[in-house]
Structure formats: structure tokens, C-alpha cells
């Protein structure tokens, strides 16, 4: 699975997702299947999903 597919798989599982922070190294800057999710690139090596209030929902690493 691509990085994008992995991230979108998590977003599908957590429908409250409004924000997705993703590692810069993964190259993902938007989620075409979820245009309402705001993608933020950060320096951490894991992803974090948050809801509309900014509350963290899930954290995950990507399979290379």
C-alpha cells in the first residue's frame, strides 16, 4: 500500500478526522478521497489525526 492509501485507510476508520499531521518524508500533502481533511506536514516520523476541535484521535506509523 502507498503512504496515501495507508493514511486514507486510517481516516476512513476515524470519520471524525478534520486534521491529519503527516511526516514530511511521506510526501503526502493532501488526501484526495477526503478533501475536507486539512493535511499538515510535520517533523515527526508518525501520523496524527485530530478532530475539529484539535483533539487527537489516533497516531500511527507508516509501513515503508
Amino acid at each position: 500500500m502507498t503512504y496515501l492509501e495507508q493514511i486514507e485507510q486510517y481516516v476512513a476508520y476515524y470519520p471524525a478526522t478534520a486534521f491529519a499531521s503527516v511526516p514530511a518524508s511521506c510526501g503526502v500533502t493532501q488526501l484526495p478521497a477526503y478533501p475536507g481533511v486539512d493535511v499538515h506536514v510535520w517533523a515527526e516520523d508518525y501520523c496524527e489525526l485530530a478532530d475539529g476541535t484539535g483533539a487527537e484521535i489516533a497516531r500511527f506509523r507508516l509501513v515503508g
Binding site: M1, E56, I57, R59, F60
Partner: protein
């Protein structure tokens, strides 16, 4: 040149008081805690270099067990293996990989180049190093009774979890599982090993687990949550890559894994990564159909223990060499 051979030892089976997450973690703890000083065959559990006894610790939150984690008796990369879970989702939520975190379910992860224990749900549970993320083991409230049969070697841990009274199993393992066996430095970590973890996922192992892929299988990686997973660290990196055991035959039977003289051949097992050769799965061998936990002797000498899908019904089997 191959790494030093691993020697697998079997701990006493621990029966969980219930199928709840806390009781399951406490059962694991009962099997592995440092006061356990012998293996089922009566040999001493040695916790120092050269031995196979991992030093396990238990983390309790206000007296409630949420994690058990282990340090190996030897090794240069400070690996740690952790099994964790809780009745709720902690904050921050545990960092997963491929799977989602679910309350009331066991999860396993591995860290290399570890510092001290931080928090099981921290982004880096061992403060520093490279963290795998968690994958699931089994389901929420698996059918009772639940018991744990755990094997230790110098650098790996394998876990069998029985569910119900019919002998079905969930399985998982972690550690320095793979020997690149190539002699090329870039194929392994600085210590020549490849570290990783595997889980059968939320499905029980199947009697055809060495033929199956994705689910009901052994040391295979499916790309969706709850699938079986086998992930290894890319050497000198925090990246984990999908890893697959190499399928060498599609249907083993007791007959075609027995020689005319009545011996049981034990074939070396290999793994591949998504874009590279991975290596030899250390001291795991394909063997004739048997049951989980069974000890295999040759002329009265212990040759190893069986990892299989059931404690009662013979099926695809792997010998973990003694």
C-alpha cells in the same frame, strides 16, 4: 556468515483468570516474571548473556496492569518488546502501525536502540530509538478460557494464545527474527540482525497457516487493519517494511514431511521484504504437521517446540529449534 544460533525455551503455560484485557496481561506476567526461574523442561532460565531469559517488567496504572515489556539477556541494539492494552483508549492514543488501537485488545510492538521505559502509549515508549508502532494480537474478549504459551530465545520471543476449549490459537512474536545470512553489511543492522515483529492479527491461525496469506496465517503481511502482519525494520532506519515468509510448499502432510526411514525433515524458512530479500527466519524450520507446543525429540534429545494453529488438531507447523 550466520549469526549465533538461537535456542528456544518454553515457559509454563499461564491460564488467564478471564478473557478481560487486565487478566490476560496479568497471565502473561505470571508466565514471564523474573521469579520464574525454570523452563518447562526443568532447565534454568538464565537472564545473563548466553542465556535465554528475558527480563520482563510490568507497568500498572493505579494498580491496573496495562503493559508488560521485556529486555533480552544479550544483544547490542537495546531491543525492547512490549505487550500492552487497556479497557479504554489512553491519551495520547498509542502509536500504531497498519492496525487501529482497540480497547480491551492485546497489542505488541518492538523498539530498538531503546532508552528507559517512558509510557506504553507514548510516541516513543522507550524514550528514544526507533519504535515500530503496535499491531493487534487476537480479538477483544476472546473466547474463554484463554491461556498463554510463551517461548524465549536469546533474541526473540514467540507467543501463543489459546482461545476456547477447542485448542485454537492466536499468535505473535518479535525480536531479532531474521538473519540476512549474506555477509553484506547493508543487509542488516550494525549487529548483523534484522529486527521485527509478526502477528496472526485478529484471526485465529489456520491448520493451513503456511499456505494461507493475509489472514489466518503465520508470518505474513496483509495491508489492512486486523490482517496478519509481519514487519521488519529496514536496517539502520526507523522504517518498517512489509515482510513475507517464503512459501516453499502449498500443502504439507504428515506423509510428505516424513522420510522413508521415519524421520521428520526440518526445512529452513526464509522471508522476503517488499523490495528486497530479507533473510533466514532464525531457527525456525518447516516440519510435519503437529500441534502447538509439542516437543520434538530425536533419540531422546530435545530438538525444539512446535508453533502451529492448534493445541489439539495437527496442522501446518514450524519447529522452533531448542
Amino acid at each position: 556468515m550466520s549469526l549465533a544460533a538461537l535456542n528456544h525455551r518454553k515457559l509454563t503455560t499461564a491460564v488467564s483468570a478471564s478473557n478481560g484485557i487486565v487478566d490476560m496481561l496479568n497471565a502473561i506476567w505470571a508466565a514471564v516474571q523474573p521469579t520464574v526461574t525454570t523452563y518447562v523442561d526443568g532447565t534454568t532460565r538464565v537472564f545473563t548473556p548466553g542465556g535465554t531469559g528475558w527480563t520482563w517488567s510490568r507497568y500498572q496504572n493505579a494498580g491496573v496492569t496495562e503493559a508488560v515489556y521485556a529486555s533480552p539477556p544479550s544483544g547490542s541494539l537495546a531491543q525492547r518488546i512490549i505487550i500492552a492494552g487497556a479497557t479504554t483508549t489512553p491519551s495520547p492514543s498509542p502509536t500504531m502501525i497498519i492496525d487501529t488501537y482497540l480497547a480491551n485488545r492485546l497489542h505488541i510492538g518492538i523498539n530498538k536502540n531503546s532508552g528507559s521505559f517512558n509510557a506504553w502509549n507514548a510516541a516513543l515508549p522507550f524514550t528514544s530509538g526507533q519504535w515500530s508502532g503496535y499491531v493487534q494480537i487476537g480479538t477483544n474478549s476472546p473466547t474463554a478460557p484463554v491461556s498463554f504459551i510463551i517461548f524465549e530465545s536469546e533474541e526473540t520471543i514467540q507467543i501463543g494464545m489459546t482461545t476456547g476449549s477447542t485448542g485454537q490459537m492466536y499468535g505473535a512474536g518479535a525480536g531479532a527474527l531474521v538473519d540476512p545470512d549474506t555477509g553484506d553489511a547493508v543487509d542488516g543492522e550494525s549487529d548483523g540482525r534484522i529486527y521485527g515483529m509478526w502477528t496472526g492479527g485478529s484471526s485465529v491461525l489456520s491448520q493451513t497457516m503456511l499456505t494461507n496469506t493475509v489472514v489466518n496465517t503465520f508470518m505474513w503481511h496483509g495491508g489492512s487493519a486486523t490482517n496478519a502482519h509481519f514487519l521488519t525494520f529496514t536496517p539502520n532506519s526507523a522504517t518498517m517494511v512489509a515482510t513475507l515468509r517464503e512459501i516453499v510448499i502449498t500443502s504439507q502432510t504428515a506423509a510428505n514431511r516424513t522420510t522413508r526411514a521415519g524421520r521428520f525433515p526440518a526445512s529452513v524458512m526464509y522471508a522476503t521484504c517488499v523490495a528486497n530479500w530479507c533473510g533466514r527466519i532464525r531457527e525456525f524450520r518447516l516440519i510435519r504437521a503437529a500441534t502447538f507446543g509439542q516437543r520434538v525429540d530425536s533419540a531422546g534429545v530435545n530438538k525444539g517446540y512446535v508453533f502451529a494453529s492448534s493445541t489439539t488438531t495437527p496442522g501446518d507447523s514450524v519447529l522452533m529449534e531448542y
